[in-house]
Symmetry: C3
Subunit: 216 residues, 3 copies
Amino acid sequence: MMTGRSLIEMVHLGVEAAAVLAFAMSGLLEAARKRLDAVGVFVVAGLTAFGGGTLRDILLDRRPFFWVEHHVWLWVLLALCAAAMLFLRARHIAPTERAMLWPDAIGLGLFAGAGTQLGLAAGMPALVAVLLGVVTATFGGVLRDVVCNEIPGLFRDRRPYAVCAFAGGWIMVGAQALGAAGWLSMLLGAGTATALRMLSLWLDLSLPSWQDAGES
Amino acid sequence: MMTGRSLIEMVHLGVEAAAVLAFAMSGLLEAARKRLDAVGVFVVAGLTAFGGGTLRDILLDRRPFFWVEHHVWLWVLLALCAAAMLFLRARHIAPTERAMLWPDAIGLGLFAGAGTQLGLAAGMPALVAVLLGVVTATFGGVLRDVVCNEIPGLFRDRRPYAVCAFAGGWIMVGAQALGAAGWLSMLLGAGTATALRMLSLWLDLSLPSWQDAGES
Amino acid sequence: MMTGRSLIEMVHLGVEAAAVLAFAMSGLLEAARKRLDAVGVFVVAGLTAFGGGTLRDILLDRRPFFWVEHHVWLWVLLALCAAAMLFLRARHIAPTERAMLWPDAIGLGLFAGAGTQLGLAAGMPALVAVLLGVVTATFGGVLRDVVCNEIPGLFRDRRPYAVCAFAGGWIMVGAQALGAAGWLSMLLGAGTATALRMLSLWLDLSLPSWQDAGES
């Protein structure tokens, strides 16, 4: 019979797996669009999935990295890339991206929450901790776009993505300041970021833009 | 009544503020030219202002970063970006860049001097310390150009910019080797870099170029 | 009279020098093609030669870097760049690249072997150690391409380059698991990577590609 604890752990593991896979898939699809070779697919998928957390850990001078401690994920990534190169066709890309919206939004929340919590635990000021959460959640995608030779979508598509992670981080800081338990503040922070992300997609919200400061 | 010490500290703080703001403005103007959104403006401005020093600290394995220790600067940066998106127009870009030439040259000197001094203090060989000064002073701009999907201007515009930081660093190493006090060698090194930079702008100097090694 | 030990050391030093120079030359030629200025030539050549090892050391939190411990290489690099800007012509680029194929393949093997060995010595799991070897051998070139504003050739040219380093790393892990001495497993691993690289060039092998997943 399954105990309550192991059920929670399995849910947690399942949610985490969905989030990491959603991030990896986003790198994989970009690699497919750019027609990268097998090496490029693996590196770009891995960079998208683990790049944000790795950058956060370098900034916090924290070891081991997630993908060192749980290196089974590297094998999963290798298998995923091999499967994608065998079975993924151009007509699959758009439906796959739509199917990834929920896991990606959950990943945004989880990664932002985890980054903020690690920042606070390392004694960082609140704003720095929140920004480390944003870095965790978004810089995998930034690195993906930089190595694929594009201006990162995060910096110019006017979608509220980093902003959702930023808001979730502050909710978490607030909850901790009010004395909430770690799991509760994590749930509130990650839930806020995920909910805001889905809401902004549903309502098609966009960030304010420049009036006429651009070149043309 | 203000004491001598607090006056020096205020001058130092003012000079430093001018330098950080000049670097941030350079990122902000580039973000405006590329019409990045609010997230892109903040990240690119922050990367330009703090990227060089952060990379130096990662190389030296040194913590806390400047923007963690003085996180008020992150709030200043947020306010600056919000103000820019509200009030900056295309016709302001060129005059703002001209107005930033002096603060930028001072930032070049200060950042090069600080980087070289930290390198020497960490026991680095002279050439490495000088190069760390150059990295501090110039790699914010390099990272700005890389994320904006351009070949870094530093690498191809033939302007003596890194070279001024390099020369200032060696002056500083020489002054310390001759037994000068820390503040004096800093003043000489930073002053040399800043003066060379303004001189090279005034005389329109350029670096030697390839004869015919390029592709076309 | 030269002893056996100093002879081995001289061979080792000569092989290492050839490898570092081959990597630096690859950056230098790319800089020449892009017509970078003197600063760009030095940075891109240095990034190509030392970038992979430096990234590995940052990931392993290991200091001092190779180019700090042996900073004479930075002087060699400065001299090499100055010589290239004086004497390199467009007609020299293709023959120089051909002349560099052997030293580059040796560098691939040596860097992959050294990275894997350092990873194993730091207690990394086998897959992580092998990937650190691949990073050491290939990410100098990736950084070169990123700062030169290209999608890294490693990710899309379908040449078996990273794959050779990957195979060599596993040979090394296997040899160590079987109890081989450090120098023997290094020789086997680096030799495998170098031999596979030369074989793949000779037979014009290429990696499997996407069926039709790209955009056009």
